[in-house]
Symmetry: D2
Subunit: 433 residues, 4 copies
């Protein structure tokens, strides 16, 4: 999905291509699901897959089709109520924690709704005047990236639906065999962790203006950074097992106060999906319960756990500025959603030489609370609710994960979640001053 | 389903017949459902339909197949965990309010489970020795009646799933057309309410020992009753509209203290499923939203509402003894689940002459807290948990409803629900001293 | 407090006497309290002592002084808001669970308020015309008994305030030394439990119309009772220790379903205020933590615990009718609040000969849900909210306790609490059919 | 409280002086309280005054007396349990939301405990060897500042206790008459708001190492700041009334998502303690309910409200860096706790010329989430729990308030509260880029 400036005929073609391929990928994600899997909501943070499929269609309806096409009407006037996620400017909406209480529209009806929107969008993309197309291009592109965000949520939400089911059902895409990709060497040494030093000074970070970005990635601005070092690789399951064995989940001194409350209240003693087997720790993957692979990056840990781990390791989490300075120098390659493997994999490149694993595998928690950059102002109107109003009590994550599409990540990309969230593919890299 | 004493060959045949017809009726209830409708749990009291279908099968597995058949095994050892409803004696169980968070087993897998149990049960019923059959007959019969109870719950739970969906979807069985059966006369006078007097004295109530009953219907025992009068018919929607218009939901003096708390907390202002349309009150039925028919018995009211209504009407609810004395003299006919209409209907017989509507249409709240009769003791073992352990903070209802099968009701039948429950087909008849 | 029909001069004198002695006893209960002890509310069921003192004064204000005295005004118009307990007919009121959040009015102000009401009431009692006095006599008497009920609540609420304080502070009245009255014989045999048989038949129970009673004690009515037996004495701590040692709190089969939920949720493993010491069980008393006396009647158990115990003991709880039939034949003597001992004591009379301990020591849970007797109707107006509106989800207790004044108990007296309540002085007697 | 480096005899004298004057000021704050006022906890954030008085004494006991004095023992071993606020390293502690459920220790016992600690501390300060004194000096000074923090909490907690009481009781210190200090000119024009421009560039902020500071004020470090402007004065009540009248509490577009949830859930429509009178807005002050003074700085607003107001005013909140850059140039004068007025006052100096009101009156919300400065590490041991473990989901406030002592504030002082907190004296100043 190239997004550099392009000529007008190319724009139409490019939008059609991106729209089609993203819409198709959403449906590819659903391919192995049973009808029942689309319906269930296992916690308020999780949305049913059929809701995601409809909501991203509603987004195109609301921000493109309705303003652009006179007389456009949605298949059902209640869809605007059911599929508005959080836009106050767009009227009342269905209560989020009750999304799993709706058996209707059915999955088939939801796909019919998608088809209808697809058809209307394609007609629009094919027939709109160049000026109209140019006018709507930013919102269309936003809609495409919005759907990519929901693709990642679909994967993580499906994992929660299946992974919290006592039957531990499997889910198999047309990708590589997940049970094979796990490293077979149980006793292999964890990769040596080394540190790469970065000089202090005045840096520029944030979106530089070419191609697509979300509004929260800018404005590009100067920031002063003291010298710092980053670990060459992500923290692995082997590392995490040491933390557990050293009493990491029992030592209050390692934890933020709110984090320690979570440990106590929810009896956290390992990452989400881990459970003690006989001798080994097991974890739920889309291939069912598997022995925890020591060489994989640790995954499904909250900010609180990442922060406690870093303290235990005499380190700290990097700030988002430090992360961006480092990642800006790295090739944007990694284990992304494109392969439909949907699990982190062990590092295969030689880790001793450089920063590795900057992108893919797991979102990396940073020490940075999610706030607006200097000079940030959200867009006006409903679309302005996209990012800005969530700038409170969340932390920034960077780098994308195995559930992020490779066309949907940038060094400046700022993801954000509450510090107790664990159901995303979230891990960490260490920093030191 | 005749249940008087029968000869041994007849017993086998009778059990096979009852088993088959009850199992078939459960599936007939599901016939109009979409797959998604089986999955959803709209409140903790509601269970997903696929859970009901599996649970009643698990009941046969647990109480008949496993003790009777050496080497019997369930398709999945986790089913014992998932489908145990509340039997502490049978080990751990899945948390009730999370039944709607399970996409698996799928609906198709659930039906396969049912088929498997059906097959095993039929083999057992066909091949068990007469002695074994006689030994297990009480539990088999209990299992059959147990499934009939869940059939009623399936209907009321499906109604809640669809009726709380903003789309108000319809659900159409192979029964009479529900939109036709509603009385068309909007302005027709409500039927005159008259009173039938009953003399006081020592009465016997409770199950007399012939045929099947639940353990809570006995022992038959003497009770002293003062003279009383019962209304000849059920309270109708027309009656209830008067109560609403007279401020019934705003007058705290009409309500029990806990009932008034419910009115305030949940903003009750009409029966469940009612909402104000333009000019008319509407209510959700399986035929979608309909104008409230003034001539139908009022339905979906809690004990608290029934009690407040009775106080408003200078009356009271009958005790269960009074109800049984009256109903014992009535023919056991009415609007039952057999027709698959699943909604109450207006009284058609001449109401002035006698007690009417003793059975069917709506369960009738009584003034009696649900406790054991004198001398009641539950069975030993897990099956003893069936009724006895719920004898606290619930009220007795009598007479069956439009979702009760005609073979599943008796004058001595004691249904029970918490006083704030509204999602069952529940209404009332008045009494006076 | 004699309450038989009396001549008019005697009425005035009798009311003055009763009013004065009851008002004085409330203050005697407060004598050992620190100012801080009057303020605290340790759970929603508990009210601060200063609230009780004010509320009972407000009752006289509201039901006697304001209707009887033209131009009467309360010291502060907000007192009507602060001290209305639950009378909807009397306007808005302060939220019950927040009673402990009010530092003002202070204790001194509260006593000034009491004095003011006392003075006004005495003036009224001394100067009202005989007709006026006769007209208000029922409400004055109700106010006196109402204050006696709150005296018992004050004692139990103070016990909760002090007993849940980690410092286990003591509280010493001008009564017998509580640490002496405890039986010193640790190894003494528990008194033999024997059974007294009662014949079945038609009995009359309920208030017969002479003297004062609460409205819920009538109407007197006939009831048919099967033959039954009652245990000659109350269940003791020694009995209860056997229940604990036999796993009574671990065996779900002994419990009602809601009771078992309580056991699990609140980790009940002994009566309220009990804790394991080294070797012995300890319990909080007003004399501080004491070793549990095996010979005392068990106290501070809920209905759920009493019911489970009875099931464990192959018995059941008596119905309130059975209890009243038995107690009606007994002398109304016992360990009451008059002595200001405020704790149950071991049985000293010979237990083998007859029913003992019918009155005093501990309220005895019955198997009877609290509902109105046949023909019961509450008074009209606010005073009708006194009893009737609570007839739901509570159970009847009989016999009074060590915190009940001897002038405040009758064989027909129906106390009632929710089945999970434990902070009252509540115990049990066994019954068998 | 001078804190520059001082000679050893001077150190002893200086500590004695500071200790005595701070201890005395705590008790001066309590002077107008009734005993009952010390006991109550009106929400979990609020602590009873007697708890504060004991907790600050426990702090000296725990961090100085116990380590320094062999054989020191506390009056009651349970005090360590009752008065530990949040130090996990110091063992179990009493549950915070239950602090208001303890009537004992009484207020008198609490003051005895204080006296005992005072006496021991004075003996220690007078007799400790110079080396010991020097060793403990940092913790003694921390204890003194810790008590000053709790003095502010005492004032705000007492205000909550009295201000949420329906009787609106007054509380009068030996300070200026609060009802006089309010500006009498109701129609006076609000002071003109003007902007002072600051240049961008690399600044140093944080504690520079001389005198006392909390650990979170350092390390001093460089930060790059873009040019910015600050409003010359604080936002006033007159300003806020415009915001209200313009629908500020009804427009979701002005609010952060979590803030809007608070508005909806708690029905915020004005600052805490405000209520509509007839024609005017009233607010609770220690002088009782008063008409809102338009010229006073607005107070008792949450971060969410401050942030929404700034958005409405086409501005933003300053970052803490911007605030410190500005305040560092200002004289540290203002309306502090020393006068015991305990309310913000209108600006009296000419506001047009410069930045005013940098200190005192109200804490100023900043846009900065509370996190550690680059290189920050908490002390080891229990005292390390003082600040660092709260660096999550809180926002920084600057400048002190009318409840802060003048010896307890610095330009580098970082206060922090959750973004929904309103019971502190919190207001705001505007910024623009």
């Amino acid at each position: 999905m190239e997004t550099t400036t392009i000529s007008k005929p190319a724009l139409r073609e490019s939008l059609l291509h991106d729209f089609d391929s993203v819409r198709a990928f959403s449906e590819a994600i659903c391919q192995p699901l049973a009808v029942e899997d689309y319906v269930v909501q296992t916690m308020p943070d999780v949305s049913p897959t059929k809701w995601h499929l409809a909501h991203v269609s509603w987004f195109f309806e609301t921000f493109i089709l309705q303003p652009a096409l006179t007389g456009y009407f949605s298949p059902d006037p209640l869809y605007a109520y059911l599929y508005n996620s959080y836009y106050n400017a767009l009227g009342d909406r269905h209560c989020r924690p009750r999304r799993g209480q709706l058996s209707r529209p059915t999955v088939a009806e939801t796909f019919r709704y998608r088809s209808y929107v697809d058809q209307q969008m394609r007609t629009f993309l094919n027939t709109a005047s160049p000026d109209t197309l140019a006018e709507f291009e930013p919102l269309i592109t936003l809609g495409i990236h919005h759907e990519q965000q929901h693709q990642e949520l679909m994967v993580t939400d499906i994992k929660h639906v299946l992974g919290t089911n006592p039957l531990s059902p499997t889910c198999r895409w047309n990708g590589p065999d997940p049970s094979v990709t796990t490293s077979t060497l149980r006793v292999r040494e964890s990769q040596t962790l080394s540190w790469t030093q970065f000089g202090g000074g005045l840096y520029e970070i944030g979106w530089d203006g070419s191609g697509f970005s979300f509004d929260n990635e800018g404005p590009r601005h100067r920031t002063f950074v003291e010298p710092f070092a980053l670990s060459n690789r992500l923290v692995t399951n082997a590392d995490w097992l040491e933390f557990i064995q050293d009493g990491g989940y029992q030592r209050s001194d390692l934890w933020l106060s709110m984090g320690w409350d979570m440990v106590q209240t929810f009896e956290w003693s390992a990452p989400l999906y881990w459970e003690r087997g006989e001798g080994d720790w097991l974890t739920y993957t889309f291939a069912g319960k598997q022995i925890v692979d020591p060489n994989e990056p640790v995954c499904h840990v909250s900010f609180f756990e990442a922060d406690a781990y870093a303290r235990w390791a005499d380190s700290r989490l990097p700030t988002e500025e430090e992360w961006e300075i480092s990642a800006g120098t790295q090739p944007q390659v990694g284990n992304f959603a494109d392969s439909m493997l949907f699990k982190p994999v062990p590092l295969t490149s030689d880790p001793r030489s450089a920063i590795t694993q900057s992108f893919g595998d797991v979102w990396q928690w940073t020490a940075s609370p999610y706030i607006g950059y200097p000079g940030y102002t959200p867009a006006s109107g409903a679309v302005g609710e996209y990012n800005g109003k969530f700038m409170c009590n969340q932390f920034v994550l960077r780098g994308g994960s195995c559930a992020t599409h490779s066309t949907h990540i940038r060094p400046t990309y700022r993801n954000f979640f509450a510090p107790d969230s664990r159901w995303q593919f979230t891990g960490l890299r260490l920093a030191r001053s």
